[in-house]
Symmetry: C2
Subunit: 120 residues, 2 copies
């Protein structure tokens, strides 16, 4: 396996479990919510269907990145999803690699400052 020094653009740290678009949405939604979010909140924030959300949350749970809690609220089942400690740590590592991607893409003087302001 080449090291990062040999292959500066290999981005080995871009953990595929996290990098997948829907899972990146879920993790970003959860990062600022230590108490987690309900499935319904996640569905709305991430614009995911029930099936897609369940599938991706399962992948994240299997990888130890999130925990699922099932309780009852007003006699109705209520599912909450939260980042685990390990999940938080791995997500922060991933975000550091994303920063590197942006910095690398932004290195050329021709493209610095590269990023256009987002239209309001």
């Amino acid at each position: 396996m080449p090291t990062s020094d040999n292959a500066p653009f290999a981005f080995d740290g871009l953990d595929r479990t996290i990098h997948e678009k829907a899972r990146l949405s879920i993790l970003t939604s959860l990062i600022s919510k230590p108490d987690g979010l309900s499935f319904n909140q996640l569905k709305e924030l991430c614009a995911l269907t029930d099936g897609n959300l369940s599938r991706h949350v399962q992948v994240l749970q299997d990888a130890g990145l999130v925990s699922i809690t099932k309780t009852f609220v007003d006699n109705r089942p209520h599912t909450t999803c939260a980042l685990t400690g390990a999940g938080r740590e791995r997500f922060m590592d991933y975000l550091n690699v994303l920063e590197t991607v942006l910095k690398n893409a932004n290195t050329s003087p021709e493209h610095s400052p590269a990023l256009k302001p987002k239209p309001a």
Copy 2:
């Protein structure tokens, strides 16, 4: 399709053609090289095998993001890959969404500044 306002973490702009890890490596390598890079250079920079590089470059070419030029150097075939104008534009749009991901992940006071300095 929900708008970004309704689903702030859906990250609709995370174009899957670009977001795939190997293709993100290739595009980041090319962004500062208006004259393109040879296949061998790309292979090394991105730590990709011949097969993987060819497959992902093909996807990028089919999407109109890169162009391939085949020439002869010292009587040996030489393949060069470069970003197209449209490719550059779409990649810059993608990078703006990445910035949004980082900003969103960094919003909580608990995680601000969220990103640990990379170990030297």
